[in-house]
């Protein structure tokens, strides 16, 4: 089974492009960050869009680069296979992460970062490739294990493994990665029960 889809397919990864451009705009024009960032106080005053846009805002270029580069590749791979599923993945993950923060992490006033969404995309792609691929299944299992090790370490140590760097002036929130993984697993299982084909 091939990871990279047939490029003769006429689908254009428009959603991935919109997300990538949105992240770049929010980073390059700081004034837009104030409007878009997940801000608990502003959300409670009615700024509902922040439930979604908050995930597209980043703290630093390094934060942006690592999240966005992985998302761009995953988005390309997933959107060309099934655009609607990819859109559902984005909508459900961003909404559920933000609602979780709102309800269960009230002391966190602001949140930024695409990694919840990226986690969902990584897990969803890995699960599908593990199901479909025989020969290269071990690579996707390895990716899934790496992801689980990362999240497990974040939960039990309170620190981030792999996400080093002295420019991290924020607390890494493992819940975003877990919720992303859960949403990916949910959509994967739903598609399987629905009798749909892979992806």
């Amino acid at each position: 089974m091939v990871v990279v889809p047939n490029l003769n397919d006429s689908r254009f990864p428009g959603i991935t492009l919109i997300v990538v451009l949105g992240c770049l705009v929010f980073y390059l024009i700081p004034e837009t960050t104030i409007w878009a960032v997940y801000d608990r106080e502003q959300l409670l005053h009615g700024d509902i869009w922040r439930l979604f846009t908050g995930h597209f805002v980043h703290f630093s270029w390094r934060h942006l680069f690592f999240n966005l580069s992985v998302f761009a590749v995953l988005g390309f791979l997933l959107e060309l296979r099934n655009r609607w599923i990819f859109l559902w993945l984005i909508a459900l993950t961003t909404l559920s992460c933000s609602l979780y923060f709102l309800l269960f992490i009230p002391e966190m006033s602001k949140y930024r970062g695409l990694s919840g969404l990226v986690s969902a995309a990584v897990v969803y792609l890995a699960l599908n490739e593990i199901r479909a691929t025989v020969r290269l299944r071990f690579i996707w299992v390895l990716i899934l294990i790496l992801f689980l090790v990362k999240v497990g370490y974040e939960i039990f140590s309170g620190e981030a493994v792999f996400a080093s760097g002295s420019d991290s002036d924020f607390i890494i929130v493992p819940a975003a990665h877990i919720i992303g993984a859960v949403m990916a697993a949910f959509i994967f299982i739903w598609k399987k029960w629905d009798g749909g084909t892979k992806y």
Binding site: F59, H63, F66, V161, S168
Partner: protein
Amino acid sequence: MLEKNNKLYIVLFTILMVSISGCAGLVEGKKSRKASSVVDFLYPNKSDVVEKPTIPQLTLPMNVGIAFVPSTSGRYAKNDLDTKQKMVLMELIAEDFKKYEFIKNIELIPTEYLRQAGSFDNLDQIKTMYGIDVMVLLSYDQVQYTDEGLVSLTYWTIVGAYIFEGEKNDTSTMVDAAVYDISSRKMLFRAPGVSQVKGSATFVNQSEELRADSHKGFELAADDLVENLQAELERFKKKIKEKPEEVKVVYSKGYSGGGHLGGAFTFLFFLLTGIAGWYGRRSEFE
């Protein structure tokens, strides 16, 4: 006749002495200094036993205070920085640190709120007044030398004193920032900023030029301080991660959270996906 000669000799002798003292002024430069000291402020009584600091607990995001310690010459020293100058310099330094998510607020505290030799008791009072956890104590040492060059000989013409810049000024400035956790009495880190300003002036506008050089010296030293302070802050953040037993970090309500994959995971992901893609394509074409 003899009396007239005596008077003439006295007048000539007086002129000669005045000239020699003027020449002495050509040889010997002038020096002025303004300084303050964090050590004198915090540990004024050398004979007192110094309290051992405890392990600092930093609650993020932090409220930070910044203030100049009182001058060692006394509050109303002739050449001390005035309050307005100090506030301008503090704003310059504070501006670069407001961007950090772990700093909630920066309070600029006037030096008048710090007593001469106020020590940690004074800082405790400031902590209560402003609600700050961490204090940035600024101190300075500025020395200004003035030497007269050959051009100053034109001052004898009187007009020359207004036109020719015979005064050479040299201003050396150091501004030091020491960051203290007030509760534990521990210094977290420190950084200096230095500058040197060379200038010249006429005899008439010398004091004006010296004031201008002094202001410029402090501004340049403050710019240097900001750079060094940022570098020391980064080193301190690394130190906290490497030795968490030395500084305890807790998070209060209002912190910022983020989702971050990190460089290593990104690299491994691309590596493994690339391998999967490469072998997947090869198996399709074989």
